[in-house]
């Protein structure tokens, strides 16, 4: 109950800020579709030799040496265990006789490309991981912790069944949905933390450049391959876990996984990749 009130307060606040900002600077405002076209055009101009479709491969679209290693890793994909576990979990029947397939369109197979989506009834962005937990709760099951192996494995399996599907994030004709998108966009372009970095500083301005010994990836296509097996962690992690790490790395206090801030960020970021295809789960260093 308190959570719902908090969501309403935050949504109202976002709506007010959004209205105020658009009223103050209507000339600087571009709609989501103009944003997406400009976003994709920026990277295509910046890296003319990289085909648009290749951005789903993240840094491997820009770093040939790392790509060769990754191609070898994909011979025996390290995320396969998570996909298999996810498949088993997905097939389990809840105590009330229902299952995950009762909660999703197309029985939950090949639906990743439409997440996150804006739920007008709830007045907030719902990610795939959140939808999985909502499904559990509706069926009398306790929600999983968002960083649990179970939830990440379910997400990995659902991404696997969606491979090749075109990302198609919708922003419904609802001012709250547009406000959530704008909130995510503001988060993406705002500098934060002791290092005073915005997401865009690394993944737009410095995409393809070195950070220590590694190249920085382009934001375009980022959400297509999550969840991702991180070699350095030895496990599959969610997109929000990656957000958490990035925010911590710029020395800002990270938000919790599935916080409204990260959900709105995912909404904006995934919309920017509309038209590319899902290729999750992926493998990264």
């Amino acid at each position: 109950m308190a959570d719902k009130q908090e969501v309403k307060v935050q949504t109202t606040r976002q709506l007010l800020i959004f209205c105020l900002c658009t009223a103050l600077s209507s000339s600087a405002y571009a709609g989501p579709e103009e944003d997406r076209i400009a976003f994709q055009a920026y990277f295509q101009t910046r890296f003319p030799d990289v085909p648009l479709a290749d951005y789903i491969n993240g840094i491997y679209a820009l770093d040939e040496g790392a790509r060769r290693q990754w191609v070898d890793i994909e011979e025996f994909p390290p995320y396969e265990f998570a996909v298999e576990t996810g498949e088993l979990l997905f097939g389990q029947i809840f105590r009330n006789g229902n299952s995950y397939s009762d909660c999703f369109d197309s029985q939950g197979i090949g639906v990743r490309q439409r997440y996150p989506r804006f739920d007008s009834d709830r007045g907030e962005v719902v990610t795939l991981e959140m939808a999985i937990n909502l499904c559990r709760q509706r069926n009398g099951e306790p929600p999983y912790s968002y960083d649990s192996d179970e939830l990440v494995s379910l997400s990995a399996y659902m991404a696997w069944t969606s491979r090749g599907e075109v990302i198609d994030i919708a922003i419904p004709d609802d001012p709250q949905a547009l406000a959530a998108y704008e909130s995510g966009k503001q988060f993406y372009y705002s500098k934060r933390g002791q290092l005073n970095f915005a997401c865009s500083d690394c993944h737009v301005t410095s995409a393809g450049l070195y950070v220590r010994a590694d190249h920085l990836s382009a934001s375009l296509g980022h959400p297509s391959h999550f969840p991702v097996y991180r070699s350095k962690l030895g496990k599959v992690i969610s997109l929000h876990s990656r957000f958490y790490g990035c925010i911590r790395d710029v020395r800002a206090k990270p938000f919790a996984e599935q916080s409204i801030e990260y959900r709105n960020l995912e909404y904006f970021l995934t919309y920017m990749s509309n038209g590319l295809v899902v290729n999750g789960p992926g493998a990264r260093k």
């Binding site: 600077s25 966009k185 206090k253 938000f255």
Partner: protein, 119 residues
């Protein structure tokens, strides 16, 4: 030619020495001024800790808290437990400053982010 090089090397060495001397004086002056500003005792530390916590909260409300602010406050509290008032004062003030800078950053970014949007 050889003498010229020796003289240049001396100049560089003198420059480095002066720079280090300057930095040492600056650090010492700051420490002295900190010590002179307010005595480090239970009362001043409690006051500075309250200011630091309020500053951290304002940053958190703005969604802009920095990573180590909370940890600095915790470390300051730990120093209080050890009655290391001076260390507690330094940590609390650092936390307070971080909160203020984070709020300032959030205020600046509430407008500045628009200039970074890809057009």
């Amino acid at each position: 030619m050889g003498l010229g090089r020796v003289s240049e090397a001396r100049k560089v060495k003198s420059g480095i020495f002066l720079l280090l001397l300057g930095l040492t004086v600056l650090c010492t002056t700051q420490q002295v001024s900190l010590a002179m500003e307010a005595p480090a005792n239970e009362e001043t530390v409690a006051y500075e800790l309250a200011l630091a916590e309020a500053s951290r909260q304002r940053a958190a409300e703005a969604g802009a808290e920095w990573l180590e602010t909370g940890s600095l406050i915790e470390q300051a509290k730990h120093a209080v437990e050890n009655e290391d008032w001076r260390q507690a004062l330094v940590l609390a003030r650092r936390a307070k400053q971080q909160g203020e800078l984070a709020v300032e950053q959030a205020g600046r970014e509430s407008v500045a982010w628009r200039d970074r949007v890809i057009q």
